[in-house]
């Protein structure tokens, strides 16, 4: 006798339906799982056997064969446990007659028959809905996450016996679909209102977020670079449902989703340590798992002390910064993960951090300083539109109890500026100023004759590099958007010149 149950496997963020077939025949008792299972799936034998026994059912003493189809895709992890157990119980027991052809079973079994949470529920639910499945039986702990997917019935269960009773005909209430609501103020851990002073940096952050420009903060140790960077998610535009799903899908696969919310509403802020490897950052490894840049999708990737990172690691960021996706190719196949993030990096002016200071002595040699700066290559620097200095805060500012402008107020302005950009780029296939190429620059960043002259003059006076030209124009466009101005005016251009890159060539 054979029974068939549907479950799901994941290849990257793509769900693949897996048919779990169980057959029981007479002969020497044994239990085989075939169909390219990985170690975690092979081990599920023991969990399934014990869980069935501890749920008050008899584990058949016979020759059991479980096949996972399609047989040519490697199945990973423990999420197939429940489906295997159900398939076996259904062959051996009478009366489990409920039709489950359009139901997906997912869950890891504990030895006592409880069902534990699994990773990747959200992308699987989205894929299952697309493939026409009507129902999903999932671990209770994954309930809120799955409930964000509308149009598929989510049945959250706690134990294996509950599932068996369900198959006998007992009803379990489906989870109520959750409507997506944007993040509330309390969801943000950091707020700009607690950042004292730093008016230049605050303004630069607002511009960077408005135009989705990457930003580099240069400043002495203790100047407050990290604190400023941490506030970026709180001033970024509200997440749309689509963005939230995209980001949650990645975190669901990596298992970094908190079960309380079930969905990510606050834009992620990822801070890889500077010893991070290429694979940790872009993704890969034996199971082709997403890297930190994909976990930062629709959010911020913060590289603290950027020159301390390995150069090869930094160079890996160039392509995703351009394309917004990363394709990881391994022997098992190629997987494409989203990687649309805003890069925020920080660095000291020199290895000891005191270069240029009037009061503190810089102990670095010329060569050291040059080497330090050269760690960040020109092409990578070209993708960072705003490069600003951060000053240390005066003591008087620190002790004042007056709060500064809050993130909420800034975010309102950012939202408006983004709206303007969406309108403008409707037909260009891009959404923000940072993505503008030469074509869009010519179309939307025209300067008046007078401003063109000023721009030329500033290049000579301030020794700007030709590479910096388009960066300054893009930033000027964003400043104009924040000012609701149709054209780039003199003051916008001048302000943008003020945020130009500092001399990195020396």
């Amino acid at each position: 006798m054979i029974s068939k149950i549907t479950s799901y496997a994941l290849l990257g963020l793509e769900g693949i339906p897996v048919e779990v077939e169980a057959d029981i025949s007479r002969g020497m008792p044994k239990f085989d799982i075939v169909g390219l299972p990985d170690t975690a799936v092979k081990e599920s034998k023991e969990r399934v056997r014990t869980a069935i026994k501890n749920s008050g059912k008899n584990f058949p003493v016979a020759q059991i064969t479980v096949n996972l189809a399609p047989a040519d895709i490697k199945k990973e992890g423990s999420k197939l446990d429940l489906a295997i157990a159900v398939a076996i119980v259904r062959v051996g027991e009478e009366g489990l007659t409920r039709d489950v052809t359009d139901t997906v079973f997912l869950g890891e079994l504990a030895l006592d028959g409880e069902i534990r949470s699994v990773t990747g529920i959200l992308p699987i639910a989205l894929s299952a809905k697309q493939n026409g499945y009507k129902r999903m039986i999932i671990p209770y702990a994954n309930k809120t996450e799955a409930a964000h997917v509308h149009g598929i019935e989510i049945i959250a269960v706690k134990t294996l016996s509950q599932v068996i009773n369900y198959l006998k005909g007992e009803e379990i209430n489906a989870a109520i679909p959750i409507e997506f609501t944007p993040a509330r103020e309390a969801d943000f851990k950091n707020d700009l209102k607690y950042v004292k002073g730093q008016y230049i940096a605050r303004r630069a952050l607002e511009i960077a977020v408005s135009g989705n420009h990457n930003i580099l903060l240069v400043g002495a140790p203790g100047a407050g670079k990290t604190m400023l960077a941490k506030c970026i998610p709180s001033i970024m535009p509200d997440m749309t449902f689509k963005e939230a799903l995209e980001t949650t899908a990645v975190h669901s696969v990596t298992g970094t989703l908190s079960s309380a919310d079930g969905i990510i509403k606050v834009r992620p802020f990822m801070t890889p340590h500077h010893t991070a490897t290429r694979i940790a950052l872009v993704g890969g490894g034996p199971n082709v798992t997403p890297g930190l840049i994909s976990m930062a999708n629709n959010g911020v990737l913060f590289l603290d002390e950027m020159p301390e990172y390995m150069r090869t690691v930094l160079e890996c960021l160039r392509q995703p910064l351009e394309d917004g996706v990363i394709t990881v190719s391994r022997a098992k196949g190629s997987v494409t993960y989203p990687a649309k993030f805003m890069l925020c990096a920080s660095m000291n002016p020199c290895p000891c951090g005191n270069y240029g200071s009037e009061t503190l002595e810089c102990k670095c040699s010329d060569t050291q300083i040059r080497k330090y700066k050269a760690k960040i290559s020109g092409p990578l620097l070209d993708r960072i539109d705003l490069q600003i200095q951060v000053d240390s805060v005066k003591y008087d500012d620190l002790v004042s109890t007056e709060l500064e402008e809050s993130s909420q107020v800034v975010r309102a302005r950012v939202n408006k500026a983004r709206q303007i950009q969406l309108e403008r780029f409707k037909e260009d296939g891009i959404t923000t100023n940072a993505e503008m190429g030469e074509r869009e620059l010519n179309k939307y960043c025209k300067l008046s004759l007078e401003n063109e002259k000023l721009f030329k003059r500033s290049f000579e006076a301030l020794h700007l590099s030709a590479r910096g030209r388009s960066r300054i124009l893009k930033v000027a466009r964003t400043i104009a958007d924040l000012d609701y101005s149709e054209t780039i005016e003199k003051k916008h251009l001048l302000e943008a010149i003020g945020y130009r890159s500092f001399d990195m060539n020396q």
Binding site: Y199, T359, D391, L462, N505, Q506
Partner: protein
């Protein structure tokens, strides 16, 4: 092949011998009536060399003191486009001849005529010069060179670079390199030094292939001081190499100028110390103009810069010490984006510079 006199050829050969120190070179020249005699390997010469460095080394030195080796040296220089100006040459600068240890040969690339400039000003300082001081130094270099004063400096980053950038457009610049021309130090200034060789002059007392050694830098500084009528020290901490230049300048009886610095600024300690000990304080270009006998009215007229009202207000505030814009904004109840364009405008006009940590300093 460029023709040199026999004496000059002897000096070229002498100065190209590996490991022969300056004191030996100059002593050898004193032993013979004229350098050409060195090729004759007199017993006096032999004796001196054996006493000074032993039999074996003396032999190698004598082997190099030949007409053939001189030919080889001249060839090497011609191949690299380097002209040698020896102490016997008419091009050799008079001011350098009278110092205690004049270089026997100056290897030159560029406009040799600059060696005979009637007016010269040395501008030196530390590699870690604050950006507003750099900007001021550049300004001085530009104006002075525009008025016909040749600027003499080194090849390092910081103050040297500022001096070069200011004067190179006026083609009145001599950069003194510590090692040979093929090893410009630091590497990152190679392009700038090449520019100087094209528009001004670079000189060194060592053949082009000599790699630099740490002791060559203070030794080089005597040439900067020797070539200059006055020396301006832009910056330096207590241990800075600019101290050597200042000391040489005083030994040679040159006028010494220094920028003043506020208390506690490390890179200004040397300057303040020099001023304390009697160097002239230089905080405006007029200080130098009068010393060079240049009429102030000769100063180029585009110096008058027109300012809008709001620009004048901010410039005045920065001049009065409001360098932190966060504080300025808070005091005057302004948003930063309101003053950001004005700051850029002032920067483009060259009136202020941005220094580390977003501080703004006036340059004039």
């Amino acid at each position: 092949m460029t023709t040199y006199t026999k004496d000059e050829r002897a000096l070229l050969a002498l100065c190209s011998i590996d490991g022969l120190e300056y004191r030996h070179e100059s002593r050898l020249c004193e032993l013979v009536s004229k350098p050409a005699m060195l090729f004759e390997h007199d017993s006096v010469v032999k004796e001196y060399l054996v006493n000074a460095m032993g039999e074996a080394k003396a032999k190698t030195v004598l082997m190099s003191l030949t007409d053939d080796y001189a030919d080889y040296c001249v060839n090497q220089l011609d191949k690299r486009g380097v002209k040698a100006v020896t102490i016997f040459s008419a091009d050799y600068p008079e001011s350098l001849k009278h110092i205690q240890t004049p270089p026997l040969v100056l290897y030159c690339k560029g406009n040799i005529g600059l060696l005979k400039s009637p007016k010269t000003l040395g501008i030196v300082g530390s590699r870690k010069t604050l950006s507003y001081a750099e900007s001021f130094a550049k300004d001085i270099s530009k104006t002075m060179s525009g008025l016909g004063v040749t600027i003499v400096t080194g090849s390092a980053t910081g103050a040297d670079k500022a001096a070069i950038l200011g004067a190179v457009c006026n083609k009145q610049i001599i950069s003194v390199i510590a090692g040979g021309f093929e090893h410009v130090y630091p590497d990152c200034n190679k392009a700038i030094i090449e520019d100087v060789a094209k528009n001004g002059l670079i000189i060194s007392e060592y053949p082009p292939q000599t790699p630099p050694a740490f002791w060559m830098f203070p030794v080089r500084n005597r040439i900067i001081a020797g070539l200059s009528q006055s020396v301006l020290i832009c910056s330096g901490d207590r241990k800075s190499g600019a101290r050597h230049t200042a000391e040489f300048a005083l030994d040679y009886g040159r006028d010494l100028y220094a920028f003043p610095y506020s208390i506690g600024i490390k890179s200004g300690e040397l300057c303040n110390e020099l001023i304390k000990n009697g160097a002239y304080l230089c905080d405006a270009i007029e200080d130098l103009l009068s010393a060079y006998g240049i009429d102030e009215s000769q100063k180029t007229e585009n110096e008058i810069i027109e300012l809008e009202d709001d620009e004048r207000v901010l410039y005045q505030a920065i001049k009065e010490g409001a360098d932190d814009m966060t504080v300025y904004c808070a005091k005057n109840n302004l948003k930063f984006f309101e003053i950001a364009p004005i700051l850029s405008e002032l920067e483009i006009k060259g009136l202020i510079v941005k220094t580390a940590g977003n501080k703004f300093k006036p340059t004039k």
